[in-house]
């Protein structure tokens, strides 16, 4: 466990005592000025000369966020009056809370006891007694006294007797704060991955023009849905994407097939959420599958290396999906329940998205991602250019389904090649071909639904690579 006490300004006894005087004066003033509110003083018990630094401040802020959430959930109104975040004697914050002191004392004690690291918080609920402002003690509300965070004896005894050395105390504090901050960091990475995944879903639908897909201008190939349907669908997947990220960030057993099994269960519920949000229209079924897997794999890579490594992501995808084609396609469900992909495997031997996924999304890693990372211009230009590249190399089962014949793939490849040869979205000639292709897809009722899923995954990986602060090597 890392030692968090390597930075910070050492404090001496006079500084600590002067700070107690300063605190007592502020508390006196706050209690006098707000007779209808209860004053709560929040600080940390950090033994030893170092009482503040970045890690300590972050721990303090994160912990109080949880306290505030508990107050919010309890309907307890509060506001922050004063904060001494970077005081050398330790971060402190003073709240005014609208509830009776004994009730708040119960809440703060529950908070202090709620998690091992919260033991380091010292939340004083102040009352006026015989003219003086004093903190309510746990004994006032019949609660047991604090225990030492090293040995569990009554804390006051250990504190007074100096039973534990500063080194021993700091090691215990380091462990508690280190664990709490690691948990917080995992949650931040999870939230960031969910944001990237949802952005990827929304960016994809916003980009224009996309032959055979829905964009804000045109959705002729999909008359039953429009860009708004996709916004609804994208937002409905938040919980699922969070589950996928959490699975990867906390995976301990490294039992990848079992993790995938669990993800698929979450995926089934996500599909239900999607259908509810879209009024029964399939907007993102393929994306639920592919984006969920990729979110899990990115999170897994971060957990193992403290950063995201593309080779590791691809390796994890392969481990997650080992045997997918065999299990799904070679022993498919009864004919009438089969998906398009399952039917096409039966009829044409096409492995579709399952084959692509099980191989570790080579189309994404070998074609889509390099194209998007190399593409210049705004997001629209990057996405459309990448979509053309992906369309060229994707065995798109949605396209085959609409055409009713896998020969359509050769036609698609030839048309996309023409468009790319003309420069794609980056030239006037390429844009003319793109518009023509869009009209053709509409008139022939063709779709590039399978490609769209890979576009989403590619955008997601690009956002991760360009935006995850903890770095990504490839």
């Amino acid at each position: 466990m890392t030692n968090i006490f390597t930075t910070g300004q050492p404090q001496d006894i006079p500084a600590v005592l002067a700070n107690k005087d300063r605190r007592a004066a502020l508390q006196q003033r706050l209690v006098a000025a707000h007779p209808d509110m209860t004053v709560v003083a929040a600080k940390l018990n950090v033994p030893g000369p170092i009482k503040n630094n970045r890690a300590i401040q972050e721990f303090f802020t994160v912990g109080l966020k949880q306290l505030e959430e508990a107050w919010l959930a309890a309907g307890t109104l509060f506001y922050q009056d004063t904060e001494w975040l970077d005081a050398g004697t330790g971060p402190e914050r003073f709240y005014l809370v609208q509830a009776a002191a004994p009730i708040i004392k119960e809440q703060t004690t529950r908070f202090e006891e709620g998690q091992p690291s919260h033991r380091l918080f010292d939340l004083d609920v102040l009352v006026k007694r015989a003219g003086q402002v004093v903190p309510l003690s746990r004994a006032d509300s019949g609660q047991p006294a604090r225990r030492c965070f090293v040995c569990g004896r009554p804390a006051k005894e250990c504190g007074r007797s100096r039973r534990h050395s500063v080194g021993e105390l700091q090691a215990a504090v380091s462990a508690l704060i280190g664990t709490a901050l690691a948990t917080e960091q995992r949650q931040r990475v999870r939230d960031r991955l969910v944001t990237f995944a949802q952005r990827a879903l929304l960016y994809e639908v916003l980009a224009w023009p996309k032959p055979g897909l829905v964009d804000p201008v045109e959705h002729g190939a999909h008359p039953d849905m429009d860009a708004f349907t996709f916004v609804n669908s994208s937002l409905s997947l938040r919980r699922y994407l969070s589950q996928a990220a959490t699975l990867g960030l906390h995976g301990r057993s490294a039992d990848y097939p079992l993790m995938f099994k669990e993800l698929r269960e979450f995926g089934k519920r996500a599909e239900q959420a999607m259908f509810t949000a879209t009024g029964g229209i399939n907007t993102h079924k393929g994306a639920v599958f592919s984006l969920g897997i990729m979110t899990l794999a990115v999170a897994d890579s971060w957990r193992r290396g403290g950063k995201v490594d593309l080779a590791a992501v691809q390796a994890t995808v392969k481990k997650l999906l080992a045997g997918l084609v065999q299990t799904d396609l070679q022993a498919p469900p009864a004919a009438k329940q089969r998906t398009a992909g399952e039917r096409q495997y039966q009829r044409y031997g096409l492995t579709g998205i399952r084959g692509e996924a099980q191989a570790g999304y080579p189309t994404v890693f070998d074609h889509g991602l390099p194209a998007m990372l190399a593409a210049t211009g705004d997001w629209n230009q990057r996405i459309i250019q990448t979509m053309l590249v992906l369309a060229r190399y994707t065995e798109d089962s949605t396209l085959v389904k609409r055409a009713g014949d896998p020969a359509i793939l050769d036609w698609k490849n030839a048309r996309v090649d023409e468009c790319l040869a003309a420069g794609g979205i980056t030239t006037a000639a390429g844009r003319a071909k793109l518009s023509q292709l869009e009209r053709e897809f509409t008139s022939r009722h063709l779709s590039l639904g399978g490609t769209a899923d890979l576009v989403i995954v590619t955008i997601f990986l690009t956002l991760v690579k360009e935006g995850l602060a903890d770095g990504l090597s490839d």
């Binding site: 006894i13 605190r23 010292d122 402002v133 903190p135 005894e157 504190g159 007074r160």
Partner: protein, 97 residues
């Protein structure tokens, strides 16, 4: 040394002690209120008495409300109270500390 006025130092914060010094005529009388009285009451009284003696104070009434202060804190707060009571706050006697 003669106590000139009643003086207070320290707070009721945890790990602190609040010392109130006032005139007395019968040695050092300490009224101690401490959550660790049973284990450390005598120790706290000794530190207060010795600190006052170092200032030449032989007669005083002391009200001490202890919240688990360490000896060095007891000493520092007693010193501050003594200096205020003797009105020598502007010339702190660091040798005592």
């Amino acid at each position: 040394m003669e106590i000139k006025k009643t003086a207070l130092a320290g707070t009721l914060e945890s790990s602190d002690i609040q010392i109130t010094l006032s005139k007395g005529d019968n040695g050092i009388n300490i009224d101690l209120d401490s959550s660790v009285e049973e284990l450390y009451g005598d120790q706290i009284r000794t530190v207060i008495t010795e600190t006052l003696h170092a200032y030449g104070i032989d007669n005083a009434n002391v009200k001490a409300v202890d919240k688990g202060a360490l000896d060095c804190v007891v000493k520092a707060r007693t010193m501050a109270a003594a200096q205020r009571a003797l009105e020598t706050t502007d010339q702190p006697d660091w040798e005592v500390f």
